[in-house]
């Protein structure tokens, strides 16, 4: 079950990611990117991170992709023409890239031996005496960590967002005379 779910959604994610890169029209790339985000949300659920999975769907597949599609429609950019790409680079680059990925996976396998198995919802811990069994990625757990241990980074993040909002407004507005 876990193996099948992982394989299906990992393959969907990788195929959609390749589609993002090879499609010539930006709208096709954007739709493929939604596929990547959705399948990654399922993979986060497999890892027990329920809150992150929900945030992934809402923020990435919802907000960011709407922003991208909005800008693509606004700029009305058509399909991209290829320019200055040699076939030699294609025939050499793809096998070399696959080889690099295989070597990286090989070394990862050596560094992290396969002793931590992932089960669906396997992040849940056994219930402590007198308490309800809690899941590791629930909004309760993540919120507790976010507002106690990581409170200062959280507050600094709000400053970052404020700066980003101001920057986006200043960059995209029309110059007033």
């Amino acid at each position: 079950m876990d193996v099948i779910l992982f394989l299906i959604f990992a393959i969907i994610a990788v195929v959609c990611a390749i589609n993002v890169v090879v499609q010539t029209h930006p709208i096709s790339s954007a739709i493929s990117l939604v596929g990547v985000m959705g399948s990654l949300a399922v993979l986060y659920l497999l890892l027990g991170a329920e809150f992150i999975a929900a945030a992934q769907v809402i923020v990435y597949a919802g907000a960011i992709m709407v922003l991208f599609v909005f800008v693509i429609m606004l700029l009305n950019a058509g399909a991209e023409t290829k320019k200055g790409q040699s076939t030699m680079a294609l025939f050499l680059g793809v096998p070399l890239l696959a080889g690099l990925l295989i070597v990286m996976s090989w070394y990862l396998q050596g560094w992290f031996p396969a002793n931590t198995t992932v089960h669906f919802g396997g992040f849940s811990l056994p219930a402590l005496p007198g308490k309800v069994a809690e899941s590791g990625g629930s909004a309760h757990q993540v919120g507790m960590a976010l507002f106690t241990t990581y409170l200062l980074p959280f507050e600094v993040t709000s400053v970052l967002i404020l700066i980003a909002i101001l920057g986006a407004i200043v960059l995209a507005r029309k110059e007033m005379d």
């Binding site: 992290f112 396969a114 992932v118 402590l128 976010l146 960059l171």
Partner: protein, 108 residues
Amino acid sequence: MHPISTVHYLALSAALLLIGTVGVLTRRNIVVILMSIELILNAVNINLIAFSHSLPPIEGHPNVGGQVFAIFVITDAVAEAAVGLGILIALFRNKETVLADEIDLLKW
């Protein structure tokens, strides 16, 4: 069947990272370059959540530090997309193009 472990998630993350890097390096459209950067940031998120899953619990509580940092990465991605697309709109207003190799204001 061989069970799925943290290594498989790390390999998937490496694959997404490589694909995103290829997208950044080979595409000419700036919108697609920004999408490839989102792919790279998602690869980081997979790593963080897989490590958060594999680390042992602290005092009976699950170790959610990786997931908190994944939230920060998502926030960063939103800010980066907003500012990047703002820059793109400002560029398009001046140069009438979204292709990265035609924007050569600084080329001498």
